[in-house]
């Protein structure tokens, strides 16, 4: 039994050798040991197969006609950094094996190959792939959790904060009301609306002082809100999109969802918090995948520079899916905190409200369009950096 069957990623093996007889006999013997290898007869074919359906482990003969094994290895690792490659070298070419290791091969075996040894190497290579994938998933999960926790805490502390502010503001407000009513008392008693000027100015002074006290409180509150922002730095939106796509690829494939990108080559850098941008993309992609998880579909992520008559240049970041879309009754509520159509325990309903908060704090806006049955399109527009000004990390507001 293959002990990696409990791992989520199946062991998908590709055997690359130009000698059909040798290749088929190795494939056959590996099949007897529970593997299901696919085969390719050349480096070019190997790269082609990998593009259409990537394997997790490649067994690669160093000596190939046309593109040789080492070149194939380099291109393979370039295009699919996660794949692990086991090289097969001849006695005379062990140096190739060593060079291959430097270029990122998992290991090399010398011909004639002992089949059980090869099987063991393949399993080890695959374990490495699985473990790396797990670590990555865990890291994403942890950062998602941390951010979600932070947001939930923020909402919870908002309640506490509101109570505190109400209490703080109540006292000065009570005094202002009482002083104003005191003046009304005096007016009522007065002859022809005349109030002792000293008494009048004393009350007015008190009202003013208490008003200033309220202003101080709201000022501090706004300052507090600003402090909660995360650190900003110049970053490439396209780079972030590619990074997130890589992270989400496996989950997408699992639900028969293809993610493709249409990225504007001339997109200027923006100044933003990378973790916030990551969070926005993750939430939108997660939503799209879960909307399509029954039937599968396509997510298209687009970036573009737009020129608006009123607001000038804006960066567009769009996430479109081919899922069921959003009904008219729901569409006005999806950005509300805690609005979810997912079963209890599945969704918190915070994803889009977090996106909304992040995007509007950046001075941008997020909008949705959907034709039920034909998918949903989320469009984010961010103000483009002013031309000429080099993007710079903004100092921490204090």
């Amino acid at each position: 039994m293959l002990h990696d069957e409990l791992a989520e990623a199946p062991l998908d093996l590709l055997l690359v050798d130009d000698e059909a007889g040798f290749r088929d006999s190795v494939a056959q013997r590996l099949q007897l040991r529970g593997f299901a290898p696919r085969t390719a007869g050349s480096g070019e074919e190997c790269l082609e197969v990998m593009t259409s359906q990537p394997a997790t482990v490649v067994v690669l003969d160093v000596r190939l006609p046309g593109m040789d094994g080492l070149e194939t290895l380099r291109r393979l690792k370039g295009a699919h950094p996660d794949v692990e490659v086991v090289l097969i070298t001849g006695h005379a070419t062990t140096a190739d094996g060593v060079q291959g290791m430097k270029d990122g091969a998992f290991d090399y075996l010398i011909k004639p190959v002992e089949i059980d040894q090869l099987a063991q190497k393949i399993r080890q290579a695959h374990d490495t792939v699985v473990r790396r994938e797990e670590r990555r998933r865990e890291a994403v999960f942890r950062s998602q959790m941390a951010q979600r926790m932070a947001e939930t805490e923020r909402l919870a502390s908002l309640g506490t904060l509101a109570a505190g502010v109400a209490h703080e503001i109540n006292n000065p407000v009570a005094i202002m009301i009482q002083e104003a009513e005191w003046l009304m008392d005096l007016l009522q008693d007065s002859v022809e609306g005349r109030i002792d000027p000293q008494e009048l100015s004393r009350s007015l002074e008190l009202i003013r002082t208490q008003g200033q006290r309220c202003r101080e409180i709201t000022h501090n509150l706004l300052h507090f809100a600003r402090k909660a922002e995360t650190r900003q730095q110049p970053l490439s939106l396209n780079g972030m999109v590619l990074e997130i796509r890589e992270i989400m690829e496996r989950q997408a494939v699992k639900h028969h969802v293809v993610i493709d990108t249409r990225l504007a080559p001339d997109l200027p850098e923006i100044v933003a918090s990378p973790s916030e941008i990551q969070q926005v993309l993750l939430n939108l992609i997660n939503n799209a995948i879960s909307a399509m998880e029954d039937k599968g579909g396509r997510i298209r992520i687009t970036t573009a520079v737009e020129d608006h008559a009123e607001i000038g240049k804006a960066l567009l970041l769009q996430v479109a899916d081919t899922g069921p879309g959003i009904g008219e009754a729901d569409i006005s509520r999806i950005f509300d905190p805690f609005f979810t159509t997912k079963p209890v325990g599945k969704g918190t309903g915070l994803g889009l409200s977090i996106c909304y908060g992040i995007v509007t704090r950046m001075g941008g806006d997020i909008a949705v369009e959907s034709t039920p049955g034909q998918g949903a399109v989320f469009s984010i527009r961010l103000p483009a950096p002013t031309p000429g000004a080099q993007p710079q990390a903004r100092p921490d507001p204090s």
Binding site: A166, H167, N171, I175, Q178, E181, L206, Q210
Partner: protein, 130 residues
Amino acid sequence: MQDGATPIRLLIVDDERGFTEVLSKRMTRRGLRVDTAASGAEAVRMLRTQDYDATIIDLKLEGMDGVEILKVFKLLDPGLPILMLTGHGSETAVKASMRLGAADYLSKPVDFEALVAKVLNVARQGGDKA
């Protein structure tokens, strides 16, 4: 309204001086005789040297909280009617106060007329003291 002969003597205990001062002048205009105290210690000192017909105590004071003052007042003068002023979210403290013998309570920010009405309602008349 008081008819002047024996004014009601009221003690207001609150650490928000601006508030006690304006209440005091407005109550005085309505014919009450008002003293103020800004802390528990000051309030106890006043109660030891003077007789009052009613008191208003803020639940939230720095140093000594309103419920503690209430307890001390009840020991010093069991028959003294006490009105508690409460903020939001002090339901438990309100219940405790009522159990400990407060005459009534009002939530802040208070309506002046409602406060005057309550004071007049609970105050013992100048003469009927033990």
